[in-house]
């Protein structure tokens, strides 16, 4: 790769107590690329993303965005960087004290890019993109179904049109059709905004749709990266076992302590 990658992780390590969750993660994500990250439950996918966002401080390793080391950045710059990043949390993490429309436009309002008067219309527009009616904007997040919460979370992540977007299991809990719609939306965002997207998913159909590149994380390390289209016949026994969901293979589900 000639140009600097948008995101570059080297030797990222994180321990919680005695448990090593990340054990030297190396990963490059090129600008404008759709990267999908695969891996078993508890393999550290969410922790990796939270490290990149600065929500968890890694014990060792480096994180570069646009070639700049974010761990060494002064706080103000780091905050400015976060202004350009969007995140969909695995559990939605919607603010339950605010109505949906305020959730969706939260970042635009925080950055004063929009007035409160205009925020409702903007929210309706973004909600429409994720297949929700404008009337949903006036509900509180606790009044929504799980799948609707996910879509509101997605709307919130993309409303401010970020350069880098992280999707932590964007289609988990959605019906297959809505899953495909959301996948389409993610692809579209990446194309339209020219954004770099990193998605975590367990859904292989979805991974092939939204990913240009895929990476597999196992036991705290990236064990494989390659074109997402080859998932299932990549030639790597671990990846293929995971992609095809077979019980037999190099990955054994040892009991996690």
């Amino acid at each position: 790769m000639s140009s600097t990658p948008k995101i570059r992780l080297r030797g990222l390590t994180k321990r919680f107590g005695a448990k090593t969750v990340l054990d030297g993660v190396d990963l490059d994500v090129a600008a404008g690329e759709g990267m999908v990250v695969l891996g078993g439950s508890g393999s550290g996918k969410s922790v990796t993303i939270k490290c990149i966002l600065g929500l968890i401080t890694p014990d060792a390793g480096s994180i570069e965005i646009d070639g700049r080391d974010v761990l060494a950045m002064p706080r103000r710059e780091r905050e400015a960087l976060n202004d350009r990043i969007g995140m969909l949390f695995q559990n939605g993490a919607l603010f339950d004290s605010l109505p949906v429309w305020e959730n969706v436009c939260f970042k635009l309002l925080a950055q004063k890019r929009i007035t409160r008067a205009k925020a409702r219309d903007k929210a309706a527009e973004v909600l429409a993109q994720v297949g929700l009616a404008a009337s949903v904007g006036d509900l509180s997040p606790s009044e929504l179904s799980g799948g609707m919460q996910k879509r509101v979370g997605l709307a919130r992540a993309i409303a401010a049109e970020p350069e880098i977007i992280f999707f932590d299991e964007p289609t988990t809990g959605l019906d297959p059709i809505m899953g495909a719609v959301i996948d389409g939306l993610i692809v579209d965002c990446v194309k339209r905004l020219g954004a770099t997207a990193v998605s975590i998913t367990h859904d292989m159909a979805s991974a092939r749709r939204i990913g240009d590149t895929a990476a597999m994380i196992h036991k705290g390390r990236i064990v494989w990266t390659g074109p997402a289209a080859t998932l299932g016949h990549s030639g790597n026994a671990m990846v293929d076992q995971f992609a095809n969901g077979s019980r037999e293979g190099p990955i054994t589900m040892e009991l996690r302590k």
């Binding site: 976060n82 995140m87 949390f89 925080a110 950055q111």
Partner: protein
Amino acid sequence: MTLILNVLAAIGRGVLGACRVLGAVVLFALEGVSHILRPPFYPRLIGRAFVEIAYFSLPVVALTAVFTGMVLALQSYSGFSRFGAESAIANVVVLSITRELGPVLAGLMVAGRIGAAFAAEIGTMRVTDQIDALTTLSTNPMKYLVAPRLLAGTIAMPLLVVIADILGVMGGWLIGTAQLGFTSASYLTSTLNFLQPMDVISGLVKAAVFGFVITLMGCYSGYTSRGGAQGVGAATTTAVVSSSILILALDYVLTAAFFGS
């Protein structure tokens, strides 16, 4: 010998742990205050916290104050009549209320309501990643969640205590005139005659400090809570217990500072 060493080690560990927590709370408080002073400000959130603390605590604080005033009048009557000092009842009531019982009882009531509510709300936000979400949405969680509450608590408590002071005196007056044979005028005159501005001011300063401590412990316990519903429950308990104890301890410190010499 080893037994003694073990006991000492256990005590040492406890003391060190307490120091660590104290240090963390102080740093948290300093960061919170620094965010009160620097923009962006969130007037809407300050207002919401203020209403929750001042307005919704009003009924409990008012009831507490009225009954406390009534009890004080009765108690001091039954005590003072033994040596013919009934005339001092009004003074005893107003001094006890303004200096001590107004701020302390209002503080304990608000600690139960607000400390618990803030710890539960912020704790739930912590365990459901909402605090992390704030960071990713260009908003500093300390500034958004903690600073407005600290400010609102510090302003709201003195106002509540002014009301508690008035209602407490009214409770005493009620018993004094209805039961103990004071005329309304004589009761109120002796209430106001001996009252110094310092009596009221010291009570209001206490109230402001208690308001800060209650919201601080509520926010801190919630903010640092871990591990699901159980963690939030523990945070709620910690908030109420720690702020109640701090109120009583700081009450001593402040009383000594105001009237000690």
